[in-house]
Symmetry: D2
C-alpha cells in the first residue's frame, strides 16, 4: 500500500499514517520526495486491506494498492495450474471441454433430444437450466426440481455429466444432489452468501463473471469459494456490459490471457450469452479457444424457434455439429484438442 | 413489437411471423414498404414478451420493442405518485426525507452516537448495516443478528425508524422482524429469489439500482416486488459503473427525472456510495435534491477514521449537520422541504 | 511513480529499474518488503512520465503513478480559481452564467428570434453552431461562414457575446474572427492539433469533456490549451457514454466537485446534450448548479419541431424562461446568483 | 421509422406525425392498437433521418429506427465483399495481412531494424507513426515530416508498403504523398473534416474504431469516407473503453462478426493498443484471426525498453517471429493463410 501525502502535509499527519500502519502490524518506509512525502506500507496481507483505512486520515492525498485484493485465486499463492475433476474429465488440461445443451430444461423430449445431439457432436458435458434468473417476473422461471430430475435422467441415459445453475442459498443442497458442476450465474457473482454456501459443498463450481465486474473483482469473488476449502473452481467469461448495442454483451476476450497470467484457475467461455444471436456464436467461440480458453459452454436447442428462453442465441444441432468441427481445428492450431 | 423483415424476405417468411404472433393472441398489421416488410404486433402485453420469439424466425432482420418490459412499476399502469408510509413518515410526498447513519453497525456506542447525531441534525430515518456484502471474504462481514438487535435498541432509545439491508432469502424473515424498511442492495437488484421473498413481506422496501443496470431493468426488477402484492416500494439511485476512476461510481443524476417520468415509485439517492469520498458527498447530495429526489441516504460515522467499512465516504456528524443546512436551502429552492 | 517488482525478482532486475530512473534524473528509494521489493521514484515531473518506461523492464510487476499526468490545469500548479473574462462577464466568479441559443444557426430569423428570447429570459451569452459535427454525412452540416456572419449580426443587434464551435485547425482563425468564446466539442477533446491551434489564439475557450474521457484525461487535454500560453480556459461537462439508454449521455454530476477539487479552471455544464430530451433538461440543469457548476449552456429554439438538428433536446423560449426562474432559486440556495 | 404515440394521444397529434412524414416524402401506415397508436414511416432513406424529427412532436412517446443510419458501408447497399488494393496486396481476400512496425518512427536505425525484422518474420506492410496523438502535451509528439521521409526510405530499402496516421486536415496532402495507406486514429473517428479530406484523396484508408463508438457509429463514419467516392476503405477494431482496468482497452472481438455481417468492408484488428501489454498481445491476435479478421496491425520495436512511446505493448522481433508462426496455424485452422 502506497500512501501519498498532500503537498505540504504536516509532520504529524505523516506520523498519523505511520502509526496507523504500525498498529495494524505492517512495516513502514518513508520516502521523502522534493515535493511530497510518500509512505510505503509493506507486509504480506496488505492486499486484503481497504485503501480507505489510510485515505481517510488527514493530510493524505491518495492511496494506491500494490498487492492485489485476491489471494487464494492468485498465481502468487499457487503457481501451478488448477485442474478441476468432473467424472473423469479434467477442466484445465490440454483438452478443451465443451459443455452444451439448452438454456432451460423445458420437457423430457426437448432435453433428451438436445442431450443426444450435443453428445453426438462431441460435447463432454450437458448444460441445462432448472432454476432460471429472468429479468421480468412475467417470464418463464424454469421447471425447478422437476428440471433437476430430468437432467439426472439425461445423465443416466446419455452418459454426460451435467452442469446447472444454482441461484439461491436455500437451493444449494438440492441442486448439489443432482449436478456434477454447480454454476454461479453472472448476476450472482457477488452474492456472497451463495458463494459461501456453494464453497461449502466442495463440488466443482463454475463462477461466471459479473456483467460489470472487473477481472480483479471476479478473482476476489473466487476467493469466497476457495476460502471454504473448495479448490474445484473454474471461471467463465460471458461478456461484459458496455455501450455497444449490436451484441447482448461485449465478449471480453482479453480477460482470458489476463486470468491465465494472474490466476491458477481454469477459465471457460460462454459465447452464447455474449453474442445474444446464433449467427455471432461461432466466431466468438473460435476466438475464445484461440485465446486460450479451457472450456466452452454453448446453448444448443433442438428447435430454437419454440424455445422458452434464449432461443435467439441457441444453435441448432446441425449448426453445433459444424461448429464443433471448426473448433477442433482451432484447438489443434493452438496445440490443444477437443 | 415491430418486426422488420430482411430485404427480399419470402412471403412465407412474413407469414411465419404473422402466424407466430396470432398463435400468441396478438393483433398483426403488415406494413409493406418499398424495400422491406415491417410487421407490427399489437396487444397490451407485448412489453412482457421477449423479442427473441420473433427474432429467431427465418427472414427476420431486427425486432424492436415498442412497449416497455416493466408493467406494474410504470406510470401507464398507475398514473398517480406512490407514497411509501414508514412509521408516520411518507416517502414520495413534498418532504424530502433523509436517512443517515453508519455504513455498518460496529458496536452499541458507535451506533448510539451516530443515531443521536443524525437525529439532532434533522435526519428522519436511521441507516446501519447488520449483514454486509463485502467484495473480499477477508473483510469485516457485519455483526448479523446482533447488529439487528442494536438497531432495534437505537430505534427505541433515539426514536428513529430503521432501514437495513437484507442479502439472502434465508434472512428475510429475521431482518423483517427488526427493520422498518428492507433495503435490497445494488449487487442483489437482480437476485430474483430475494425480490420475491421481500415482496411477500409487504414491508416497505428500498430497491437500489444495480451497478450496471439500466433504468428499464431496474423498474422491471421492481415489478418482482410489486407482483407479490407489495406496493410499499421505492427506488434508490447509487451510481453506476463507468470508466471514470476519480469517483467510486458515476452518480447518474439523469435517472431521477427519467424515473419520475416513467414510474409512479418514489426515488431516493445515495451520494455516499457513488462518491466514495466524503469530500464529494455534499455536491452530489445537493444535485440529487435539485433534480427531484424524494429522499437521501447518507453515511455518517462518529469517527470515520476508525470505521470498519466505508470510512472514506462517511461524513462526520459536524459535516453532516452543515450539509443538512445546505440541503434545506436546496429543497426549498425546488419547492420542497426537509 | 511506484514500481512493484515481481516476487522473487533478481537483484539486477531491481538495479535495472533504479538505473533507468536515475538516468532520467529522478531520485530513487528502495522499499524492501518481506515478499516484494518496491521502488519509489520521486521528482517533480514524474506525473508527465509514462508508466510504460518502467513497466517494460524485466522483473517489474506493476507501476503506479503517484502524481497526476496533468500539470498546468492542476490546483497544485495554481491554487487560486481561474476566472475567464468574456466581454465584461466573468466565468468562475459568484455569478452562474447561462449560455443559450439554438444548436445550429439555421437562418437569420431563427437566430434573431432565439437570441432575443434567451436574452429576455436572462441568458448572458448566445450559443449557436455554424460548423456542425454530424455523425452521418447525409445530415445537415451547418451554414459555415454564413452562420458566423449571422452570429456576429446577432451579437450586434441583441448585445450578447457569442460562443460557437470550431472543428478544424483550418477554421480556427476564421472562427476566432467572430467568436467571443471558441468551443471545442466532445468529439475533438483529444484532437491535439486543434487544441494547440486554439491555444495559440489566446481567446477564451470552452473545452467539452470527451464522451468517454476520464476527468484526468480531460484536465490533461486542457494542459494542451494552457501550454500555449492561453489561460482563458474553462471546461464543460456534457455527459459520458455508458450503457444507459433512456438518456443520450449520462450526465456525470460528480465530475463537477472532482474538477473543482483538482483544478483551478471553471466548469460549465451542458444538460441538453446529456439529456437528449427537452423534458429531462431542467432537472439536470438544476442539479448542475446545485453541484457547483459555474455556467450552463442550454439549447433553445424558437420552434423545436422544425429544428434542423437536436430539436428534441431544445427548449422552447417559454420553457427556458420558466427554467431560468427555477435556476435563479437554486443558484441562490447555494450562495450564488444568475 | 416507427413512431409510438402516447396512450390516449389525441387524433390531431397522430395526424401531426402523419403530416410531418408525408411532407418529407415518406409513406405512412397507421397501426391502431388496443391501447396505443403506432405510426410506421416507410421509405428507402429513413435510416438517414434523425428520430428527433418525430420524437419532438406532441403526443409522441418514442421513436424507433428500423433502418440503419449507415448506407454506403452496409451490405444492403453492396452485398459483395470489398477488397482493398495496396501495391499488389489485397486486404479482404483469403490471405490475412499483417502490418507491423514501431509505434513511432524514432530514428533511421530504429525504423530500418524494425522494418527488416518484421519483413523477415512475414509481415506484409510496415507501420510507423510520424505524427503522434499524445494525451499529454509534454510527451514525445513524433518526428513529423522527417518521420515520413524515413518511412519512404524504409519502403524503398526493405520493400514493404507503409501505413501511417494522419491527424489533421492540414497534413492530409503531405501524408498522402508518402503513405500507401492513410490511417485514421481512434480519437479522430468522428473528426468529420478529416474523414472528408481523407476520402477525397481516394487513397486506401484504415478507419480505427473510436474508443467509445458503437459499431453503428463506426460504419456511419465510414460513410463519410465512402461518400467522397473513396471505396478503398477498411476498418480496424482496436478495443473499446470499459470499466475493466487490467487491459488498456477491452478488445471487442464480437465486432468482427458483426461488421462482416452488416458491412462489405474488410476489418483489421489491433491487438497492441487493446492489450497495452506485450504479454497479452499474442492471445488477442490469435483470437482476432480465429474470429475472422482480414488483417492485423501489431507494434514491434527492436528494443521496447527504450521506445519513446508504447514500449510496453510492443513485441520484440523474436516475440513477433514466434507469434507469426502461431498465427499462420490459426489462420489455416479457419481456412485462410498469412
Amino acid at each position: 500500500m502506497i500512501v501519498e501525502m498532500r503537498k505540504g502535509a504536516a509532520p504529524d499527519e505523516v506520523d498519523g499514517v505511520v502509526q496507523r500502519a504500525k498498529s495494524l502490524g505492517f512495516n513502514v518506509q518513508l520516502n521523502l520526495g522534493s515535493e511530497k512525502t510518500v509512505v510505503a506500507i509493506l507486509g504480506s496481507n496488505t492486499g486484503q486491506l481497504s485503501t480507505d483505512i489510510f485515505a481517510v486520515l488527514p493530510g493524505v492525498e491518495t492511496v494506491a494498492r500494490i498487492m492485489k485484493p485476491y489471494k487464494l485465486a492468485s498465481r502468487e499463492f499457487k503457481a501451478q495450474d488448477t485442474r478441476v475433476q468432473v467424472q473423469g474429465l479434467e477442466i484445465g488440461g490440454n483438452r478443451v471441454l465443451v459443455m452444451a445443451g439448452p438454456c432451460a430444461v423445458e420437457s423430457k423430449e426437448q432435453l433428451m433430444e438436445a442431450a443426444w445431439a450435443v453428445k453426438e457432436a462431441g460435447a463432454s458435458i450437458l448444460r441445462g437450466g432448472a432454476f432460471k434468473p429472468r429479468t421480468s417476473p412475467f417470464s418463464f422461471q424454469g421447471l425447478g426440481r422437476e428440471g433437476l430430475e430430468l437432467l439426472a435422467q439425461a445423465r443416466e441415459e446419455v452418459g454426460l455429466p451435467i452442469i446447472t445453475e444454482v441461484m439461491d442459498t436455500q437451493e444449494v443442497s438440492l441442486v448439489a444432489e443432482y449436478a456434477d458442476i454447480l454454476q454461479i450465474g453472472a448476476r450472482n457473482m457477488q452474492n456472497f452468501s451463495l458463494l459461501n454456501a456453494v464453497g461449502k459443498t466442495r463440488r466443482p463450481a463454475m463462477l461466471k463473471r459479473g456483467l460489470s465486474s472487473t477481472v480483479t473483482e471476479w478473482l476476489t469473488a473466487a476467493d469466497y469459494l476457495l476460502s471454504q476449502g473448495n479448490n474445484q473452481v473454474f471461471l467463465c467469461e460471458r461478456g461484459i456490459r458496455t455501450f455497444e448495442d449490436t451484441v447482448r454483451f461485449s465478449f471480453d476476450v482479453g480477460s482470458i490471457p489476463v486470468v491465465r497470467r494472474n490466476s491458477h484457475l481454469p477459465i471457460a467461455a460462454d459465447p452464447s450469452h455474449a453474442a445474444g444471436h446464433y449467427a455471432l456464436v461461432p466466431a466468438i467461440a473460435k476466438a475464445a479457444v484461440a485465446a486460450g480458453a479451457d472450456a466452452l459452454i454453448i446453448e444448443v436447442h433442438p428447435n430454437p424457434k419454440v424455445a422458452l428462453s434464449d432461443g435467439l442465441q441457441s444453435l441448432t444441432p446441425s449448426d453445433f455439429t459444424r461448429l464443433m468441427k471448426d473448433l477442433r481445428a482451432v484447438a489443434e492450431s493452438v496445440g490443444r484438442h477437443i
